[in-house]
C-alpha cells in the first residue's frame, strides 16, 4: 500500500534528528511491500504497447496536477536526439534532410528501427552500460578482456539483461563469448563491501552502504541485516591464481550499532533468506583444498571447479525469481528511463526505496512487469521508451518557470558523453558530401572509424553525472589546446573547412557551417553575425573560418543533446 509521506525532505544517514519535527509512521515493511504494490487490476493491461502506456500515465499525472506539457520536438531535433541516444552521435546532414523531408507516416518508427539495428547501437549501449556498471575499477588482465568487450559482444548477440546479469555474476571463463565478463567481479574482489554495494547499486538500484554501520535511520527497508545479507552472497568469491573461485562456506559476523555481534544470513534485499547449512567458517581441510585449487588453477591456467553450493548463484536465481525480481526489473527500467529521458522515474538512481517513491508509481510497476514478462529484452524496452510522445517532447522553454522535473513536461537537456561529443565533433567538422553515396555498410564502417579516431580526444572530457557541472578546464581545453585545434579545426581534404575555403560568399559559408554543425538552417541573425565576423577578417579568411567553426562547435547548442 502506498503511504502518504509529508512533503518535508530529510537527510538519510544523519547522526542527529533534524530540528523540525517530522511525523511519519516508521513502517517496518519488507522491501517487497515497500514498493507500494499496486494491485494488478489497477494497472493497464499487459498487452498495450509500451509507448501507449508511458503516454497514458504521463498524461494522467499532468492532467491531475494541471501541468501543461510542452509541444513535441520538431523533426530535425528529434532525429538528432534519437541518433545521439541510440547510436551515440549526431546525424549527418544527409540523414537529417532525408528524415525531415520524408512524408512517410511511419518514419519515426522506421528511423528508430534502423538505428537500433545498426552496429552503432551495440557500441553505444555497451559504452553506456559500461559507465553504468562503474567499471573504472583498476587492474585487469588484458588477455581476459574488459567488461566493455563483453557487453559489446553480448549486446550484439541480443542477450537479455537477465542473461547479462547472470553472465557478469557467474561468468564462464572458458567461454570465448563471455570474454571480459569475469572482469566485473575480479576488479572488486579485494573489497567485499565495495563489491556488495556496487552490485546492489548497479542491478537493484539500492545503495545500502550507510546500512553497513547501522540500520538506515530513516529508510525502514534498509537495515544492517540487508547489507550483510547481500554481502554474504558475495563474500565467498575470491581470486584463485587469476581465476574466479568461490568457497563452499562462509560466515559473516557483524557488530550492530546496538547489541551483540550477529551472524549474517544469506538474505536478499526483499528479506527472503536462502536457507543453507554452509553458514559456517571453512574447516581446515576446506582451507587446504582451497589452496590446492588455487595452485592448480595457476599451474593449469583453468578456473577451479564451482562449489557444490554457490552462494553467488543463489543470489542470481533469487534475484530473478518471480516474486523476488521487482528490484531487478524496476532498476533496469529506471536506468533506461534515465538514459533516454535525462532523469529517472526514481531519483537518485540508487535510492529505490519506499521513502523515495516515483511520481508515476503505476508506470514504473507496469514497465517492470512488462520487461520481466518479456524476457528482459533491452531493445524492446528501449524502443518502447523512445517511441513515446513523452520522450519526444521539445526541450524548448520560453516561460519564466520550469515545471518540476518529475512531470517530464519539457524534455531535459543531456550533456553529451565524452565519446558522443568527440564523435559528433568528427562528423560536424567533416565535409558533409563525404557521407554522400555511401552504401549502408560503407557508411557504418566510416562512422565506426570516426568513432575510433575520436576515442583519444574523448579521454580529455569528463563523463557526465547527475547535476553535472562543466568545469572551466573544458573551456580552457577548447580555447587553448593544440590538440583540439589539430583534431577538429584543420582544413585538409575531406573536412568542412576544406570545403568552406573553396567558397567565396560569406553568406554561403555561414549557411553551410551552421547546417553542418547544428543540423538546421541558419537564422538571419546568425548568418549576419558570421558574415560580419568573416568580412572583418578578409585578410586572413582561413583563420577566420576556423574561428567561426570553433564558435559553433563549442557553443551550448552543439554541446548538448536537446
Amino acid at each position: 500500500m502506498l503511504i502518504a509521506l509529508p512533503a518535508f525532505r530529510f537527510s538519510p544517514c544523519r547522526s542527529r534528528p533534524p530540528m523540525r519535527t517530522l511525523c511519519f509512521a516508521t513502517v517496518a515493511v519488507l522491501g517487497f511491500c515497500a514498493f507500494g504494490q499496486t494491485r494488478a487490476a489497477e494497472l493497464l493491461p499487459n498487452n498495450r504497447p509500451i509507448e501507449v502506456v508511458i503516454d497514458h500515465y504521463g498524461d494522467t499525472l499532468l492532467k491531475t496536477d494541471e501541468i501543461t506539457a510542452g509541444p513535441q520536438a520538431d523533426d530535425a531535433t528529434l532525429i538528432r536526439r534519437l541518433t545521439l541516444d541510440l547510436v551515440g552521435r549526431i546525424p549527418t546532414t544527409a540523414e537529417t534532410d532525408e528524415y525531415v523531408k520524408s512524408k512517410e507516416p511511419q518514419k519515426r518508427a522506421k528511423l528508430i528501427d534502423r538505428l537500433i539495428a545498426s552496429p552503432g547501437f551495440v557500441r553505444h549501449q555497451a559504452s553506456q552500460f559500461d559507465v553504468m556498471l562503474n567499471n573504472t575499477v583498476a587492474g585487469g588482465d588484458a588477455r581476459k578482456g574488459t567488461v566493455r568487450d563483453y557487453l559489446a559482444a553480448a549486446l550484439k548477440e541480443g542477450k537479455s539483461w537477465d542473461k547479462i546479469f547472470r553472465e557478469l555474476m557467474l561468468p564462464n571463463e572458458a567461454d570465448p563469448k563471455q570474454k571480459g565478463a569475469s572482469e566485473y567481479l575480479r576488479g572488486r574482489l579485494t573489497d567485499a563491501d565495495k563489491l556488495t554495494n556496487d552490485v546492489s547499486v548497479a542491478f537493484f538500484g539500492v545503495n545500502v552502504s550507510c546500512a553497513q554501520c547501522h540500520d538506515h535511520p530513516l529508510v525502514a527497508d534498509w537495515k544492517q541485516d540487508h547489507f550483510f545479507g547481500m554481502k554474504s552472497f558475495l563474500a565467498r568469491t575470491y581470486d584463485a591464481g587469476g581465476f574466479l573461485a568461490e568457497r563452499e562456506a562462509g560466515l559473516i559476523k557483524f557488530k550492530p550499532a546496538k547489541g551483540v555481534e550477529r551472524s549474517a544470513k544469506l538474505m536478499f534485499l526483499t528479506g527472503t533468506e536462502v536457507k543453507t547449512d554452509t553458514l559456517r567458517e571453512l574447516s581446515k581441510d576446506e582451507q587446504k583444498k582451497e589452496k590446492e585449487f588455487t595452485d592448480k588453477s595457476k599451474a593449469n591456467k583453468t578456473a577451479p571447479p564451482a562449489p557444490a553450493f554457490s552462494a553467488r548463484a543463489k543470489l542470481v536465481d533469487l534475484a530473478l525469481k518471480p516474486g523476488e525480481s521487482e528490484f531487478f526489473a524496476r532498476s533496469i527500467v529506471n536506468r533506461l528511463w534515465h538514459r533516454f529521458l535525462g532523469a529517472g522515474l526514481v531519483n537518485p538512481l540508487d535510492q529505490m526505496h519506499s521513502e523515495n517513491p516515483p511520481a508515476m508509481p503505476e508506470l514504473l510497476t507496469w514497465l517492470a512487469r512488462d520487461v520481466a514478462a518479456n524476457g528482459y529484452d533491452l531493445k524492446r524496452l528501449t524502443r518502447g521508451i523512445v517511441m513515446s510522445k513523452t520522450y519526444s517532447r521539445s526541450s524548448v522553454n520560453t516561460s519564466q518557470s520550469l515545471p518540476a522535473s518529475k512531470y517530464f513536461a519539457i524534455a531535459k537537456l543531456k550533456p553529451m558523453t565524452p565519446l558522443q561529443l568527440a564523435t559528433s565533433l568528427k562528423i560536424a567538422t567533416a565535409d558533409p558530401t563525404t557521407f554522400d553515396n555511401l552504401k549502408p555498410d560503407e557508411f557504418e564502417k566510416r562512422i565506426e572509424s570516426l568513432e575510433s579516431a575520436a576515442r583519444g580526444f574523448a579521454g580529455s572530457i569528463a563523463q557526465p553525472t547527475d547535476d553535472f557541472q562543466i568545469g572551466v578546464g573544458e573551456a580552457l581545453l577548447f580555447s587553448n589546446s593544440d590538440r583540439a585545434i589539430k583534431e577538429f579545426l584543420n582544413d585538409s581534404g575531406g573536412t568542412l573547412l576544406g570545403k568552406v575555403k573553396t567558397l567565396k560568399d560569406n553568406g554561403e559559408i555561414a549557411d553551410l557551417m551552421v547546417k553542418t554543425v547544428f543540423g538546421r538552417a541558419a537564422k538571419v541573425e546568425e548568418r549576419t553575425a558570421i558574415a560580419e565576423y568573416l568580412q572583418k577578417r578578409n585578410d586572413r579568411p582561413l583563420e577566420a573560418q576556423k574561428h567561426v567553426l570553433w564558435a559553433l562547435v563549442t557553443s551550448a547548442e552543439f554541446r548538448f543533446n536537446y
Binding site: 530529510f10 538519510p12 554501520c213 518557470s401 537537456l413 577578417r537 574561428h547 564558435a551 551550448a556
Partner: protein, 432 residues
C-alpha cells in the same frame, strides 16, 4: 540581513533573475540568484566585506593521517606506538616528536582532538568532512571551498575563487559546489601544478581570441534563452571565466619565486603546491585545497608516518612562517583535515586502520585562537572524553572564525538551507 528572494510560489521563482535581465537562468533546484547576489552588493558594502578578506588553505590529508602520530600522541600507551611526545612553545601542549617544527609554532595553531564523526569509509567520510554534513538525496551541499569562494570571492575577480590540487590517483575527490552551481566549482589540478591550457596559442591573436569567444557566446546565449538546465548554465559559466583564469597564469608559475623561498618549502610536491597556494591566496584566491595523498597506512603505519609526517611538519611550518612574514596569517587559515583518523589498535602488519571515533584536526591563523587545544581523548585514544566535536560544529567553528555567520541561510528555490546543520554551534573558545 535576511534576504527573501521569492514570494514562495514556483510560478514566480525566477522573477528576481528575469528582473535583472540575466540571459541565462538555472532550473529549479539551483541556488538561483547567486551570481546576481554579487552584482547586487552595493560597492561600498562590497568594499567593507572584502576589507579583511579571509582565505583558507586546506591541507587535505587524504586517506586519513594518524592523530596518534601527529596531534594527539599517547606515548607509553599500548596503543601509542614508538614515537614520543614533545613539548611545544605552549606550556601543557605536546604533539608527536615527528612534528618538531610545528612544535615551535603551536602559538599560531589550534588543535581539535575530540572529533567523533562516525564515518570510517573513505568516500562517505570524505563527503562528510569536506561539507560538514552528509548530502541528502535531493540537496547537494557545497563543500567548504565552494562556500568560502562564494562568501569571499569577488564578482570581478581575475583570479579563480577555488583551486584544488590533487595530484595522486588514490582516493581523488573532486571539489563540489553542490547547489551553489558552476560559478563556485573549483579549478581542479590533477596533474602538474599549473592548470593546462592557460596560454593563448600562437596561431591566434589577442583580439581574435576575445572576439571568437564573443561569437561563441552569441550562439550559446541564444540557445540558453530557450533552454534551461544547471549543466547548461555551468557550460556558459565555464567559458565566461576563461579569460579571467588565463590572466592568473603567472600565479601558478613557481619559477617566479626566489630560489631561497623555493628551497625553504623544499623539493617535494607538497612543498611546491603549498608555495603555489601561498601565491594564490596572496593574490586574493579565497580557497585553495592542497591534497596530500595517501595516508591510509593499514600496514606499516609507523614507517609511513615516519616518512610523511616530517614533510607535513616542515611544509606547514614554512607556510605558517611565510604567511606571517607577509602579514597574512591573521587573514589566512591553514586547516589540516582528513576523512577520519586511525585506530589506536595496531594490527599485525604494524598498521592502523580507519577510525572516526576519536581523532584530530588543526587550524592555524585566519581568526582562530592560536595555542589552544579543544577536546580530550582517553589515555589510549579510543574515545573522546571531553569536548566532543562533530563535522557540523567543526564547520560552524571554521565559518565563524572566518567571519561567516554559520547560521545564515542559502536558498534553493524557496527553501532556506542553513550553512551548517541546524543546532550546530561554533566552539566559542577557539574562535579568536
Amino acid at each position: 540581513m535576511p534576504r527573501n528572494f521569492f514570494c514562495g510560489s514556483t510560478d514566480h521563482a525566477l522573477t528576481r533573475r528575469s528582473f535583472l535581465g540575466a540571459a541565462t537562468f538555472a532550473g529549479i533546484g539551483a541556488a538561483t540568484g547567486m551570481s546576481s547576489l554579487n552584482a547586487l552588493a552595493a560597492p561600498d558594502l562590497a568594499k567593507d566585506l572584502k576589507k579583511n578578506q579571509k582565505r583558507v588553505i586546506l591541507l587535505w590529508l587524504a586517506g586519513g593521517a594518524s592523530q596518534l602520530e601527529t596531534w594527539d600522541p599517547k606515548p607509553g600507551a599500548v596503543t601509542g606506538g614508538p614515537f614520543r611526545a614533545i613539548p611545544t612553545d605552549v606550556p601543557g601542549i605536546h604533539i608527536s616528536e615527528l612534528m618538531p617544527e610545528m612544535a615551535k609554532r603551536m602559538k599560531t595553531t589550534c588543535i581539535i582532538r575530540g572529533l567523533d564523526t562516525k564515518n570510517g569509509d573513505h568516500g562517505g567520510g570524505a563527503k562528510l568532512m569536506t561539507r560538514g554534513r552528509r548530502d541528502e538525496s535531493g540537496v547537494k551541499y557545497p563543500d567548504l571551498g565552494a562556500v568560502v569562494a562564494r562568501e569571499m570571492g569577488r564578482a570581478e575577480s581575475k583570479v579563480p575563487d577555488y583551486v584544488t590540487f590533487y595530484s595522486q590517483t588514490e582516493g581523488r575527490i573532486s571539489g563540489d559546489s553542490g547547489f551553489l552551481g558552476s560559478r563556485y566549482a573549483p579549478m581542479e589540478l590533477t596533474s602538474g601544478n599549473s592548470p593546462e591550457f592557460l596560454k593563448r596559442l600562437d596561431g591566434i591573436n589577442e583580439l581574435d581570441h576575445q572576439q571568437r569567444a564573443d561569437l561563441r557566446d552569441m550562439f550559446s546565449k541564444q540557445f540558453s534563452r530557450e533552454h534551461s538546465s544547471n549543466t547548461l548554465a555551468s557550460h556558459n559559466e565555464a567559458y565566461e571565466r576563461v579569460r579571467g583564469i588565463m590572466a592568473s597564469e603567472t600565479l601558478f608559475d613557481i619559477t617566479k619565486e626566489p630560489q631561497k623561498i623555493r628551497d625553504k618549502y623544499g623539493k617535494t610536491q607538497l612543498g611546491e603546491q603549498a608555495l603555489i597556494a601561498r601565491r594564490l591566496v596572496e593574490a586574493g584566491v579565497p580557497f585553495v585545497r592542497v591534497a596530500r595523498a595517501w595516508w591510509d597506512s593499514h600496514g606499516q603505519n609507523f614507517e609511513t608516518h615516519q616518512e610523511m609526517v616530517p614533510e607535513l611538519d616542515h611544509v606547514m611550518a614554512t607556510l605558517t612562517d611565510d604567511l606571517k612574514e607577509r602579514g597574512l596569517l591573521d587573514d589566512v587559515m591553514i586547516v589540516t583535515l582528513a576523512e577520519f583518523g586511525r585506530t589506536p589498535g595496531i594490527n599485525s602488519s604494524l598498521g592502523r586502520d580507519h577510525f572516526a571515533s576519536a581523532w584530530s584536526m588543526s587550524m592555524t591563523g585566519g581568526g582562530i585562537k592560536g595555542g589552544s587545544v579543544y577536546g580530550k581523548t582517553d589515555d589510549k585514544g579510543q574515545k573522546v572524553i571531553a569536548e566532543e566535536v562533530n563535522a557540523a560544529n567543526l564547520f560552524a567553528t571554521i565559518y565563524s572564525a572566518l567571519g561567516i555567520n554559520p547560521h545564515k541561510n542559502y536558498y534553493v528555490g524557496a527553501r532556506p538551507i542553513p550553512l551548517v546543520d541546524p543546532g550546530a554551534e561554533p566552539i566559542k573558545s577557539v574562535v579568536g
